[in-house]
Structures are given as structure tokens and as C-alpha cells.
Symmetry: C2
Subunit: 315 residues, 2 copies
């Protein structure tokens, strides 16, 4: 399979309930959907690594009653630009800084799932002054998505082996595209975490819209090499909500199944507290990784109740 | 020597001719000097890696007749914040995107020397739409400051061995601080490029103001791992001026002495031309690396004449 061009040339997309818009941020054109009245508080939603903005579609219907909601495709996701060799937390994050400045134009609550949740913390730490009111880290792989984390096990003992399969069988920009070979290799993988990834006979819709180089950048550690989580968490400047979903430890191998371990969630909270910032922790041991998709009403309740505790936006 | 705190707690600074200001960009507080009438075209000056804004001091007196001039300390330079483990081209560049948005507020001509010249090209490629009118790369190590460049030799055959000495003898945030040992090691180095670095008995003023972790990030390649120069140059969006100063090739070892080779300067121009952007090249074989410091009048003439050829700023 030849290297696929970036969106919008790829013909892989499907219709959605909310209209999509695009904005030129300089390096990328970012695709997003917007819903809710502009006089409500602004909310920015960041999908999980292999998702697109529309993983929030069911939740957006409910959140629109409370917020002016923006849900985005990050670079390499959905209809946003693919940026070969430039997938990093700092580049994802600075795209969002620009998006908030140019498209939203006022302070936001930011909520992200998985890698998007790491980026919510990133924005709390590193956005421009006054852009962020609070950040929700929905089952975010704090420490556990790093190659050499300060606390606990790293990406190669977590989601990394799945990303390694993407790298080898799908390739940067789908340059390999051997889906069947990947599914076969996944069956033989000794890593239980690989079983949590969708390995159906055909690529799921969200993965069709995804640049597999994202996964390689996490497996190889380049995505986060200049953004150690311990430093990032020590620099957050707004209240943080950490939600922690279903997770367990394989008693035989010690493999941590889930987004992050109890130890890692504890260390994250301790560092944030030390930074002098309020941090809330909610454990949902029965919830799927992307609760916002599987239980949109529960997710909306959690997010809305927490956001109501934030100080009002300045200005 | 204990790890030194970031500015302004370090007591290493000296007075300068122009007043300094600071601005909070979110992650860092950036230090800068400003001179010239606000009704003149805006000019942003970026120092070389081991410099501070005041390496432009002599040139600023002359440039002020033509421009509203801003000269900055990048993160890790001068009085700007030190950011351990976060020195990368993309982070330096996005600091400047914010500075242009928050402090300058209109389109600029950007001119940088050495690493600052690489960042001038970065801004042409990756700044927010409309921020940059043109970029001057003053003797910038295009390709040659990368660990694994697309063209020619890389940083470990260029300035890298000097940065390796900084890493081992000065340490991140001056945590080692063994200046005398470094000077001694430099005398024994087989690399001719090391002789171009100031190895006096005492650290020069600009180096006292510099976080040696900058050098480590270039020696180890993390500074540019997510910003390959071939991709960056293919994405520039404004006219570019490349100046190329004294350089030569050691006939015995093949070592390239200088910021970049003729091959690398040629490839940079070819890629920029292919991107559909005007590129000018000026060779100054008798000029020092930082012509803006050693020959401020000549530098001012070159920059001013080229900037006069740019289309006027929009809006």
C-alpha cells in the first residue's frame, strides 16, 4: 500500500451528527466540532490516541446543555493534518494553545481521555497565561505512557506492544497497511494489554482516520522525550480532576492492565498537591477506558459536577 | 557546585545599554530588550546558542533607525527561565510564537544567528498564520546541528564535541561547574571545531548566563528529534535569506569547520525553492560566525537591504 496522503485527500470518513469546521493554525489545519450556546462556559474535549472528535458525540449532546463545547481532532487524528516525524506532546499541546487563542478566545475547561488526558495536564502546566480554568484527566496514562517514567512501569510494559504492532504492520501514514498480519501477530502477543485494542477483521473507523506514526512515537519514546510527566505535573497551574477506570495487575507477570497503576495515580496527585494546586481523584473501577463514549451520561455528570466547583473565568 | 537556580536568582548579570523587560508566556518568563520607534517595521532578533540578547547590542543601535527592534533571551539563555529537560526546537519556537502574539502583536521580520537562525526558519514554517514576513538565517547550522541529518555531516562531527564538554564539565544547570577541567579537556580534544569556542581562563559572560543543558540537548539529539530540518525547510512559508560565513574543510580528517558546509547550504536552498518560496543566499567567507556582533554595520546593511525587498506587512 502506498503512503496515504493526509486529510482531506483520504477517502475514509463517515458522516456525523454535528457539523465539522477547520481552522488554520500555521503548521496544521485542525478539524473540530462545536455545539452549545456561546454564553455557556467553554469546554474543550480531547480524544484518546486512536480516537477522533466524534468519540465524544454521545456525550456532546448532554454536555451542550451546560457548556459551549469544542471537540477536536489532534494532528494525526480524524480530519486534522498528518505531520510525519513531528508527533510530540509539546506539538500536540501547542496546537491546542493556538486553537484556544484563535477559535475559542476565552478561558476553557479542558477534558481529555487517555493521551488526551495527558494533554489536559500539559495545558494546565504550559498553556498561555489565563487560557485554562481546570483540566480533567480521564483515565490518562500518567507516567505509564513514558519510555522511562519517574514512577512505575513505562509504555513498553503497557500499551507499547500494541503500538509496536501498528508500527510494524500498519506503518507511518499506513505505508505498510497489513491489517490481517497485525491481527494475526496480536493473537500471538504475550502482552495482555494488546487484547484491549480492537483487532477486528477490518480496521475500526477511528483507526482508519489515525496516523499510526502516533503509536510509533509513543513506542519509541520520542513523543514525550522533552516532556517528562513528573516535571509537567509539578508545573500545573489550575485545578485537576483525575479519573481512574478499570485496572488490574496480572498476578503472574506483574503486567499492569489499564491506563495507569494505583501507584502512578497516587504519585501524580502527590506531585500536583506539592505544586500547590487542588487535585481531585475519582476511582471508577467498573468503567471502561473511554467512559465518555461507553457511559456518556455518567461522564457528563462527573465532568459537570466537578466543573461547577471551579472559580469563574476571569475577565 | 550545587545546581544553580534559574534566573533571576542567579547573580551573574551585568548592565546593558538598553532596558530589559520580562513577559510571562505561560511556561517561561521571557526576557527581552526593545528599541526603535513603534511605527517602524517590527524586527525580532534571536541570539546564537551560547549568547544572550545583548550579543545584538551594537547592531541594535543601527537597526533602531530602520525597525522597531525586539531582541530576546530564549529559554535557558540570559535572564529567561531555565527549563530542565525541555530544551527543543519546537519549545523554543513556540515560546517565540507566543512572544510575537502577546508582546509584538503584528507581523515581524525575524533574524537569528546560529541556532537562532534555525529558529528563524522554524518560525517561517510553523508560526501562526501571518506572524512572519521573512526570516534571516545568519550562518545557521542547517542539517549540521542535527544528530542524523538528511544531508551532510551531523552535530557530533561539528559543534557537538564542544557541547559534550559542556555536558560533562559544566553539567545541566551548571551542576558540575568544572570550568578549569573543561578548558584542559578542550586542549586535548582532536576536534578543531572545539577551538572555535571560547575557552578562556574564566567563563565568558554570555556562558555564565547559559544553561549548559542546551548543549547536551543538541549533542544527544533530543533538541531536534521531532523537527527534522529537511521537513521544516520544505514547509517554510515566507521569503528566506541564508547568510554563510567563514567555513572550510580539514583536508586530513574531512572535518567541516564552520556552521554548515556548501553542500548543506545548497540543499537548504533547493528544498526552500521546491517549497515555492523565494530564497536568497549571501556568502561572506571572511565573516565571523556572529557577524551581527563583530561587524554590526555590515550586518545592519545586509539585513536592512534584504528586508526592504519584502512585501509590506498585511493589515
Amino acid at each position: 500500500m502506498a503512503v496515504q496522503p493526509g486529510p482531506p485527500a483520504r477517502d475514509v470518513f463517515v458522516p456525523h451528527a454535528f457539523p465539522e469546521n477547520q481552522i488554520d493554525l500555521g503548521e496544521i489545519v485542525l478539524n473540530y466540532a462545536e455545539v452549545g450556546a456561546p454564553d455557556r462556559p467553554a469546554l474543550l474535549l480531547l480524544p484518546e490516541q486512536t480516537g477522533s472528535w466524534w468519540s465524544y458525540e454521545p456525550a456532546m449532546r448532554l454536555l451542550a446543555e451546560h457548556f459551549h463545547v469544542f471537540a477536536v481532532d489532534l494532528r494525526g487524528q480524524g480530519r486534522s493534518t498528518w505531520t510525519p516525524r513531528r508527533y510530540s506532546l509539546d506539538n500536540f499541546g501547542n496546537d491546542l494553545v493556538r486553537f484556544i487563542a484563535l477559535a475559542i478566545g476565552r478561558p476553557v475547561v479542558v477534558a481529555g481521555c487517555s493521551s488526551g488526558g495527558v494533554l489536559a495536564a500539559w495545558l494546565s502546566a504550559y498553556a498561555m497565561p489565563g487560557q485554562i480554568r481546570g483540566a480533567v484527566c480521564e483515565d490518562a496514562p500518567l507516567f505509564s505512557s513514558e519510555l522511562t517514567p519517574a514512577h512505575g512501569t513505562g509504555v513498553r510494559q503497557g500499551a507499547g506492544p500494541a503500538f509496536e504492532l501498528y508500527r510494524d504492520h500498519l506503518g507511518d501514514q499506513w505505508s505498510v497497511g497489513d491489517w490481517a498480519g497485525m491481527v494475526e501477530a496480536a493473537r500471538r502477543s504475550p502482552h495482555r494489554m494488546v487484547r484491549l485494542f480492537d483487532m477486528s477483521d477490518q480496521p475500526p473507523q477511528s483507526l482508519k482516520e489515525y496516523d499510526p506514526e502516533w503509536g510509533r512515537a509513543f513506542f519509541e519514546g520520542t513523543a514525550g522525550v522533552n516532556c517528562p510527566h513528573d516535571r509537567m505535573l509539578a508545573q500545573v497551574k489550575t485545578p485537576i480532576l483525575i479519573t481512574h477506570h478499570a485496572h488490574s495487575t496480572d498476578p503472574e507477570t506483574g503486567e499492569e492492565i489499564g491506563a495507569l497503576s494505583d501507584l502512578q495515580a497516587d504519585r501524580a496527585q502527590a506531585i500536583i498537591r506539592e505544586a500547590g494546586v487542588p487535585v481531585d481523584y475519582r476511582s471508577f473501577p467498573d468503567a471502561a477506558h473511554a467512559m465518555h463514549t461507553t457511559e456518556p451520561a455518567r461522564y457528563t455528570d462527573v465532568l459537570t459536577a466537578w466543573a461547577a466547583t471551579l472559580p469563574p473565568a476571569a475577565g
